[in-house]
Each structure stands twice: as C-alpha cells, then as structure tokens.
C-alpha cells in the first residue's frame, strides 16, 4: 500500500459520534488519536501533516516534537520569512559555536563568552573589558586598536588570526572560533605583517 496515504480525521468533535460512521483511508493498524480541545504541543495530526512527512517510521512522525514544521503551510508565513531567525541560529550553532574561549595575554586562566549575548562589537568590547578588567582601545580601519594596551583578535574558521572589527558583526560571530586579547605591542606586529 502506498505509504503516503494519509489518515483523515474528518471530524473534530468527539461528541458527534461520526467516527463510528466515517470513511477513513489509513495504513492498516494506525491508531485513532483522540482530538483534544485544549492545545498541547504542536502535534495535531492533520492529513496534510501526514502527507508532508516523508519519514517511513509512522511513530516518529507522530511523537511529540517541539517543531511545528510537520504541518504544511502553517503558520501561514511565506517561505522567505521563515528563516529569519532560524537561519541565524543554524549558522551560528553549526560548528563555530556561540561559546568561545577567550584568552588574555598574561592572565592565569582562560574564560568563555557566549557571543550570542552580544548584538554588536561595542557590546562585546564592553563585556570583555568588564571580564578582564582591561581597556581595549578604539578601533579604526587604518590603525587597528589604538590608544590602549590591548587589542582583541580572533581565530577564524580557516585558523587565521584576525583583528576583531573588520567584518560585519553577523559574519564575525559565525566565523569566530576563539578570542585572544593581545598586548597592544604584539597586536601592532600583527597589523604590520599584513
């Protein structure tokens, strides 16, 4: 029998005993899941749900899951609006991770920061400065971090050490693997070698 055949629950109200008379198409042995009026998890099984699930394990598609993706076309949001936040989450959780190690030259141990807690470079700098009780200079495109003893750098996905601040914030948090707050004198060396 075609696996994709759906089980149609034609009537919602259990009071009207339509279930006794309804014609249903379903895989042999499929359960009758009672419809509950109060909403629980987003797992209301509708025919479209069954159609859209391509997994072969019936139970898997019916087990409680936090995502609503199984109901086709619901909520009624156009596809280009669907991944606005999700896309960012996926890209930030994949591989690069949000918690990154931060080391500061001369400090006895490393710390970890969650990059997701910050929305911009300014906030990140503030956080780092508080955490390490240091002062990070002002960024300028030409000269890097001037006017202080420390400069923030990071290791990107390719393993290169980069100066923090050159690329847009979104790009930065997806490619940053770890941070290192360098002594300014060393950091200037970093700049000069470019």
């Amino acid at each position: 029998m075609d696996r994709k055949r759906s089980s149609l629950n034609l009537f919602e109200d259990i009071d009207l005993n339509y279930k006794a008379t309804e014609l249903r198409l379903g895989l042999p042995g499929t359960d009758d899941q009672p419809e509950i009026k109060t909403s629980l998890s987003g797992n209301k099984r509708s025919s479209s749900e069954m159609e859209s699930s391509t997994c072969t394990d019936e139970n898997e598609s019916r087990s409680a899951s936090p995502t609503k993706e199984q109901v086709v076309g619901w909520p009624p949001v156009r596809s280009y609006r669907r991944n606005i936040v999700q896309g960012k989450k996926e890209s930030s959780e994949m591989g690069s991770g949000m918690y990154v190690k931060v080391s500061m030259d001369g400090a006895p141990y490393l710390r970890k920061v969650d990059l997701k807690m910050y929305r911009s470079y300014e906030e990140l700098m503030e956080g780092l400065q508080k955490m390490f009780k240091c002062i990070i200079g002002l960024y300028s495109e030409r000269e890097g971090y001037n006017g202080s003893q420390h400069a923030p750098t990071y290791e990107d996905k390719d393993g290169d050490w980069m100066l923090v601040g050159d690329v847009p914030w979104e790009m930065f948090i997806t490619s940053c693997k770890r941070l290192r707050i360098m002594k300014a004198s060393e950091a200037r060396g970093l700049d000069d070698s470019l």
């Binding site: 055949r5 909403s39 987003g42 159609e51 909520p75 949001v77 470079y121």
Partner: protein
C-alpha cells in the same frame, strides 16, 4: 423620439469612470453604452486567469493599455498548491502581443512567466512602461535582460538585471531587486542610479553592503522609497557618519524597507528622515524591542508599519503613543516553529494599538495567545477595521484565560466592524463563529479559515450569510458535502473556493460540476489515481471557480476538472 448623446461625448464622460465595478455597470445600461464602453476601456483586471480566456478579453476590449492578471490561489503562498498547478502567463502574453500593440502595463501575480514570454513582451509593445511580477516564477535574468535592453521607455521594473540597460539617461522610476539572491555589480548599479533622474523607488537586495548605501543615496536624493541591503558593517565610524549625511540629503524619502542583518548601532543613521516616514518595513530586522521603540518614537507620521514580533508589547505601546496616523500594522513571527519564542508579544500589544491609533484599518498579527475579551476590546475600539487577519500560531488554541473557543471574540469583530472586507480566523473555533460571521459580515469579501468549526453547519452559515463573499479559502476543517450542495448558486457569485484537507467527497464534486456548468470543479490528488475514485472518497484538495472559458487543459496529471459529460458514464 429619444435623444441620445453623441458617442464622443459619452466616451468622454466614461473616461472619468475608472472603477471596474462602475465600468461594468455602465456596460449593462443598454447595447449602445456596452459598445461605447468596451471600445474605451483601457484597464483590465482579471482576478483569476482561468475565469476568462485571453481571446474573450481581447475580443470584447480592443483598446486596452493596462492588464493585471492573477494566477494561483492565495494558499500557494504557503505551499499548499502543488508544483505545476498552472497559472501560465504565456497564452495571455501571446494573445496580448497580437491584439494590443499599444499596451503599456502588465502586472502579474502568482503566475508562471517564462523567459520567452518576457522576450515577447520586450519586443511587442512600442509604448511599454510598466512590468510588475509579484510572486511569479519561471524566468531567469536572461528574460529580464531582454526587458531592460529593449524597453527604452520602461519606467517601473521589479527584479531586473542591470547591465542591459541602455547607456543613456533613462526614464526609470522604480527599480526593485530585493528578491535577487545574487550579488549585482555595484558599479553598474551606481551608474544606472546616477543616470536615472526620475528614480523614485529603489529597493536593493541583501547583497548590497551598507558601506555602499551612502554612495547610492547621494546619487539619488530624490528617492521616495528606499529598500536597504544588509544593514550592518564592521566597526567603521565613517560608515555611520556618511550614511547619516546621505540620509540628510533625502528630503523626499517617505518609505524605508530592507534592513536585513541589522546592526542596531547603525539604526539611527536615518534619524533625519524619521519625521517624514509614512511607511517602515522592519520585518527582516531581528533587533530587539528597545531599539525598535527608539526608532518608532521618532516617526509620528507613520501610516504603515511592518515589524517582527521582537517589537513586543512594549514596542507596540510606543506605536500607540507615537503613531497616531497609523493605518496598517503587520507583526510577523520571528520564529514560527517553536512553541515558546521567548518574546513578550501578546494580545495586549494589539489592544494598545487599537486604542491608540484611531485610523487603524488593516491588521496582520501573529501571536501565541489571544482572548475573547481582547478581541472584543479591539472590535469596540476600532469599528473602522477593513482587514483583520489574526494568526494564533498554535492551531485550535483556545482563549488562554477562559479556555473557551474564540467564537465570541471574532463575533465581536464582525459585529462592530461593519466595513470589514477581509478576515482570517485562527484559534479554537466552533460553528458558532460562523453563525456570527454569516449574520454580520455582510461586506466581507475574503475569508480564510483553518482548523476550525465542527460541522457543515459552519460552512453553511458562511455561504448563505456573507452576501459580498468573493474568495473563500479553507483548510483542515470538518466541512463536507452538505453545505456545498445546499449553496451551489452561491459559488457562481464568488471568484473562487479553495478547500483542502476537509471532508468533501468526490461524488459531491461530480454532482456540483453537473449542476453548475459555469463552474470549474478541480480536484487535486497528488497521492492516488483520480480515475479510481469512488464517489464516497474524500478529495484531498478542491478548487472551484466560476468561468466563462470552460475547463482548462493545462493541468498536470494529478488535477482533474470534473468533466460534466463523463459524469453520467462513470459508475
């Protein structure tokens, strides 16, 4: 002896009548008015491309200058209409290229448009000025290049490839590349903008970096609407200052959109235009409520606001306080698929806006909880609502305070808002809500229903009560044959009816098709074979629409128009 006005005079009088409704009324007065009117109608709107054939249109209206067509049903936006369904623009464009050499404008929505069709457009119409393709598919940048190259007079383009524009000054008024995924050559874009002094609307795509935006703005300070590209940058203090300076020069700017990947520190670069803004679309910007509030409180003249649910109730309170001219509010879900979005947007936000914004007419609101009392309050506050689309994200979610259905709340909406034209329902709803709708929603033209109702009675209330109903779309409701068969005549007064995952039987479809020759009854079934259906089998998806063009022949195999002639021979 009856004097009649000379044709030229009547034509001149008719030229002031622009609404289709009125034009249609004029044409029904008498035969001579019909004739005169049909020769001087310049603008045609076809809401369902299968309701009439291209040749019927060109035969009746020989001197048309502007055509607007719509193809797929609205639920196609949410992936409910399968691939290959139809909506092909080609036969229309071929016929128009033959019959309307002076055509100036083509607007297509939810249609399939090929590169060949675009090339045909670009070479067929000497006076072509406007091409709008919204939610269309089937073409590539090759087709767009043809338009750009051949249409020297084109003033309004959407999503077109840049490098094929002629090198001289252009009369381009609108350029919208927001949907283009790829990067465009910035220098080509800059040059084009520089030689288009009439450019009023510019919508960039995400790939245009923020650093370049000020350059474009300096070349086009006359812009009325701007869609930015990505709105973030590395830490570069000069970006902010050059951006604010550029915005300062845009004295005509009234609408802003775009704002992908927003870095909040750049937000107030457009501070200087806020007081003039009438339209603001932040629905791609994942900035939090405090930042949104900061912007909104600078925009007292806002008429349209589109925003993500990150605006939260607090942001909407700010809207209620600051934006007294607001007409349209849309709040989109930032993360539609998780149960708890960690965003404090509740029914309260909408209630505040309904209280504070006296001109509010149009609402689209996604939220995770709603109550009858909130809906009643909104209805009482804003009886001038024309469009009310509420989506409580969890299907069948009850009033979160009382756990009752939301019947009474929506009932209040239709009772108080007497001019309501469009309504989308959600949450837990019984047949009762449809009783209210049938009784009160006399001006309702479009109704969207999902996961609602108990029985056919619900659908019957709607079909028998809503006098002005034109479009009805229903999914996952226990509506079956009875209501449809009791209201067959109603279906001919509507543009279309969509029902998916309901309980309509194949036999009822056949009966309907037999009884109503002016309807196309299309059955969609992707899973099984349409030929082996028993009468009692429920249909997966059903699309019924009135037509004078007969059954269509361009359907894929899984769609069948119930053929009236064959009905009698099938067992």
């Amino acid at each position: 002896m009856v004097y009649s006005l000379p044709e030229e005079v009547l034509e001149h009088v008719f030229s002031f009548i622009t609404l289709d409704k009125d034009r249609n009324a004029v044409s029904l007065v008498c035969k001579s008015w019909y004739e005169i009117e049909r020769w001087c109608r310049r603008r045609i709107f076809v809401g369902n491309c299968y309701a009439v054939s291209p040749s019927i249109m060109t035969r009746r209206f020989p001197e048309v200058r502007s055509v607007e067509l719509k193809g797929k049903p609205h639920f196609a936006d949410f992936n409910l209409v399968p691939e290959g369904w139809g909506g092909f623009a080609c036969p229309w464009i071929s016929e128009m290229s033959r019959a309307y050499p002076w055509l100036e404008e083509i607007r297509l929505k939810r249609m399939v448009v090929t590169d060949e069709s675009l090339e045909l457009i670009s070479t067929s119409f000497k006076n072509f000025k406007v091409l709008v393709l919204s939610s269309c598919e089937g073409f590539s940048t090759d087709g767009l290049a043809a338009i750009a190259a051949n249409c020297s007079e084109v003033m309004d383009l959407s999503g077109h490839w840049l490098s094929h524009f002629p090198n001289t000054c252009t009369s381009l008024e609108s350029l919208n590349i927001a949907c283009l995924g790829s990067e465009v050559s910035f220098s080509a874009l800059e040059r084009l903008v520089g030689r288009s002094p009439n450019l009023k609307i510019l919508r960039l795509n995400r790939a245009v970096p923020l650093e370049k935006l000020s350059t474009l703005l300096c070349r086009a300070p006359q812009l009325v609407e701007l869609g930015t590209g990505a709105y973030s940058s590395g830490i570069r203090s000069d970006v902010y200052s050059s951006l604010s300076k550029a915005f300062l020069g845009c004295k005509e700017l009234k609408g802003l959109s775009g704002f992908w990947d927003v870095d909040p520190s750049y937000l107030l670069a457009f501070y200087s235009v806020c007081s003039r803004l009438t339209s603001l679309n932040l629905s791609y910007a994942t900035i939090r409520s405090p930042d949104i509030t900061k912007v909104i409180s600078q925009c007292p003249n806002l008429q349209r606001l589109w925003v993500l649910d990150h605006v939260e109730d607090s942001g909407l309170n700010a809207v209620a306080l600051s934006c007294k001219d607001l007409r349209e509010l849309r709040v989109f879900p930032s993360d539609p698929y998780i149960a708890d979005a960690n965003v404090t947007l509740t029914e309260q936000g909408l209630v505040s806006v309904s209280e504070g914004c006296p001109k509010l007419q149009s609402v689209l609101y996604f939220c995770r909880q709603m109550s009858n009392s909130a809906l009643i309050t909104i209805a009482r506050n804003r009886p001038n609502l024309i469009c009310f689309r509420l989506c409580v994200i969890e299907p069948r979610a009850p009033d979160y305070l009382t756990l009752e259905p939301l019947d009474v709340g929506f009932g209040a909406i239709v009772e108080h808002c007497k001019e309501l034209r469009r309504l989308s329902l959600s949450g837990l709803l019984t047949d009762r809500v449809f009783e209210y709708i049938g009784r009160h929603a006399k001006r309702l033209e479009m109704l969207s229903i999902a996961f609602a109702g108990n029985s056919d009675l619900g659908l019957h209330h709607v079909l028998s009560g809503c006098d002005g109903l034109r479009k009805l779309e229903i999914r996952d409701c226990p509506f079956g044959d009875k209501a449809l068969l009791a209201n067959v005549a109603k279906l001919e007064t509507m543009r279309s009816l969509w029902m998916s995952s309901c309980a309509v039987s194949y036999g009822a479809c056949k009966f309907l098709s037999q009884k109503m020759p002016m309807l196309n009854v299309e059955v969609i079934d992707e899973n099984g074979s349409l030929d082996s259906r028993f009468d009692s089998c429920p249909v997966e998806k059903l699309y019924i629409y009135r037509t004078v063009a007969g059954p269509r022949s361009d359907m894929p195999g899984y769609i069948r128009t119930i053929d009236r002639d064959r009905v009698n021979t099938i067992s």
